[in-house]
């Protein structure tokens, strides 16, 4: 990519801000704490399961630590039209369960949903 000047930076930013609301996102916490708890294997399990079920419109993403270190590996699931859900203790088995139930049929997986206790200051203002 060539170097951006101010105008180019601004237009890139606006382009990037327009998020795709229509895709399902699986976001795996891959900070040191998550990786120590096995998040890399969880990530692989999601990747395989998405492929095995030939799912399209599902994006697997990586992120840092969301602070729930006691319940790593943590995963956030965003399905269009559904509230965002955070799961804790997501082992590869739970990952497959999440794909088959939550992602494919909008059924929540029990016993590992966490509560998201903080707002997004950049999106929700104050």
């Amino acid at each position: 990519m060539s170097k951006l000047n101010r105008e180019q930076f601004r237009s890139l930013r606006e382009k990037l801000k327009a998020v795709n609301e229509q895709q399902t996102e699986i976001i795996v916490g891959l900070g040191s704490c998550g990786i120590a708890a096995g998040a890399a294997r969880t990530f692989d399990a999601f990747q395989k399961e998405i492929k095995a079920k030939s799912l399209t419109g599902v994006v697997l993403r990586r992120t840092g630590c969301m602070g729930l270190c006691a319940s790593e590996p943590t995963v956030e699931i965003k399905v269009p039209g559904m509230a965002d859900i955070i799961y804790g203790w997501v082992t590869p088995e739970v990952a497959r369960d999440i794909v088959q139930k939550h992602v494919m049929r909008q059924i929540l997986v029990s016993n590992c949903i966490q509560d998201k206790t903080f707002k997004d200051i950049l999106k929700e203002g104050e």
């Binding site: 951006l4 930076f9 956030e76 509230a83 997004d120």
Partner: protein, 582 residues
């Protein structure tokens, strides 16, 4: 079939799955009757924070409303009134647990740290754009000053003033250094920030560079943080490729480049003058200040050194303005603080709260309190430089001044929670051993005083202490506070001084009665078998790894304390409570 509503029944993270079974069944039964189309799913969920002992928290999504349910009757009411008739049920409504407020961690757990585009989509590099084109360096410094931001590395020095000193200092070359050494036991806020949002630190360093007139920055990071290093490298190279770092950023005439330097993990290298020495390739030892780094820093040039968390605040302050930031926190401590809450809490993790939040809210409401049916004893803030804070001060609003008044300090944000099973002498010994190991040895008060304090503590823990030692420890500690060259030696005695203030009785017990109530000081422990309770099952003899237990089922069993290694295995395994520990 698809659901349009979900009922989440929260249980505490250490409670069994069947704890809410009644409630679960009540919801299912009522829904079975009233919701024939099966549009609501009932799910077990897990609480991060502390639950109310007499009720269960229930959340309805997508409505995002919480209810407190005491019994199945409440469940029926929620289904009938709220779910079916869409009427509010104010009586049962519960407040959301929204104590956390995330400025520093705004992107952690949200964006992909290895993809700069995701950072840009969330206002990333917009603060840099704003300062480069719409603000003068003086205006940037004035804005940071007005925000009231103070250094998060421990000392709490006003960041705007630090930048102003560096800007005003005379020098042909100036530097910006990010202190990512993070050496306190139990602290990992900076690591998580760097791993989760590396671009925010880079952007903030460039803003600092623009403000003070520097075009080169260094990140001093411990080599034990390989993932943070990797993500910083990716961020720097992506930013440079896009022209957001390097020469003529975004076409302006400001250039800034960043280099990463590794530390070998010495705690003292977090001290700013030692850090600079280490950066220059010298042995990491502190130097007397003044001159302060702002005047004479890296290679003798004016240098601004800021902590990771301090820097992470900068872009938000620029975008949202100092007035916005200024409204958060207390009178003298603005903004938020990130804590790494560890130790005996149910849910250890990273917590970011506004300054002025109470310790109780952090430890209990957010982190779930103490597990295993134990009671809270104390919390250590400020790592080896801080002190212990007992239960009676848990309602103190956290800010720099309040924590110092309690004999501790804010420190970088490690918060280690202790319960009844922790012994104050033992905890003090741990921190002192750390400070002694990490002392660079340059000045006598710290080098000799630390050792002496440790020797007293070791004696006390073995039952060889003397009450007179306490007075000597206080005097040595005071001398170290006054005469040590750097913060390490000046604060080494803080944990002991605070424990003597709040837990004097425990010290006295060790010294006078040769007892350790927590059972941590092994030399003071003896295990004996209580023949009244003993049923002669013999499990103790079988599990003892040291073969210290003799006897048989005919004559009974006895522990030979000369052989016993105080592992407590028999004590833990005896089903009849027949092993006494004293």
């Amino acid at each position: 079939m698809s659901f349009n509503r979900y009922i989440l029944i929260y249980r505490e993270s250490d409670a069994g799955v069947d704890k809410n079974e009644n409630l679960f069944d009540a919801f299912m039964k009522e829904l079975g009757e009233k919701d024939p189309s099966n549009s609501v799913q009932v799910v077990d969920a897990v609480m991060n924070g502390k639950a109310d002992p007499d009720s269960t928290l229930v959340k309805i999504i997508p409505d995002n409303i919480y209810f407190k349910c005491k019994d199945p009757v409440d469940a029926i009411k929620i289904v009938d009134d709220f779910i079916i008739k869409n009427n509010p049920v104010k009586k049962l409504e519960a407040a959301a647990n929204n104590i956390q407020y995330r400025i520093v961690l705004r992107n952690c757990g949200v964006i992909d740290p290895e993809n700069i585009n995701e950072y840009i989509a969330r206002e990333g590099y917009s603060a840099l754009e704003k300062v480069l084109f719409d603000m003068t360096p003086d205006e940037v410094i004035a804005e940071i000053k007005k925000s009231g931001l103070r250094g998060r590395g421990g000392a709490g020095f006003p960041t705007g003033n630090k930048w102003a000193f560096t800007q005003q200092a005379v020098g042909d070359v100036k530097y910006v250094v990010c202190n990512a050494d993070e050496g306190d036991p139990g602290a990992y806020m900076d690591r998580s920030t760097l791993e989760g949002d590396p671009n925010s630190i880079i952007e903030a360093m460039a803003i600092a560079g623009y403000a003070v007139g520097a075009s080169k920055g260094y990140i001093y990071i411990r080599a034990e943080y390989p993932l943070a290093i990797k993500r910083l490298e990716i961020a720097i190279s992506q930013a440079t490729e896009m022209g957001l770092m390097g020469k003529n950023i975004m076409g302006s005439d400001f250039s800034f480049e960043i280099e990463i330097r590794y530390g070998a993990g010495a705690f003292v290298c977090g001290e700013e003058t030692a850090l600079l020495a280490s950066l220059q390739g010298e042995r990491g030892m502190p130097k007397p200040r003044p001159p302060f780094p702002a005047v004479k820093g890296l290679w003798g040039k004016p240098t601004v050194i800021n902590n990771v968390e301090t820097l992470a605040n900068i872009p938000v302050i620029i975008i949202k303005g100092s007035d916005w930031f200024n409204r958060i926190g207390t009178e003298k401590s603005k903004g938020t603080k990130v804590f790494a809450v560890t130790g005996k809490v149910k849910n250890s993790g990273l917590v970011e709260v506004p300054m002025g939040t109470t310790l109780r809210d952090i430890i209990f409401t957010v982190s779930g309190g103490i597990g295993n049916n134990r009671k809270f004893k104390a919390v250590q803030t400020g790592g080896p430089s801080g002190g212990v804070i007992p239960e009676k001060f848990l309602d103190t609003p956290i800010d720099y001044e309040n924590l110092v008044a309690l004999g501790s300090m804010m420190g970088s944000g490690g918060m280690i929670v202790m319960d009844e099973d922790d012994c104050m002498v033992d905890v003090n010994k741990f921190y002192l051993q750390f400070s002694v190991d990490e002392s660079c040895g340059k000045c006598a008060p710290c080098r000799l005083g630390g050792r002496q304090l440790l020797t007293y503590l070791q004696d006390i823990a073995k039952g060889n202490g003397d009450l007179k030692d306490i007075d000597k420890m206080k005097r040595i500690g005071n001398a170290m506070q006054k005469a040590s060259l750097c913060g390490l030696g000046q604060t080494t005695s803080n944990p002991i001084q605070s424990a003597l203030k709040y837990f004097y009785d425990e010290y006295e017990e060790h010294i006078v009665h040769k007892k350790c109530r927590a059972g941590k000081c092994l030399e003071l422990l003896t295990y004996t078998i209580n023949p009244e309770k003993c049923s002669r099952c013999g499990i103790c003899k079988r599990v003892c790894p040291a073969s210290a237990i003799s006897g048989d089922r005919e004559s009974g069993f006895a522990i030979d304390n000369a052989v016993c290694i105080k592992c407590g295995e028999c004590y833990n395994r005896c089903k009849f409570d027949a092993i006494d520990r004293g």
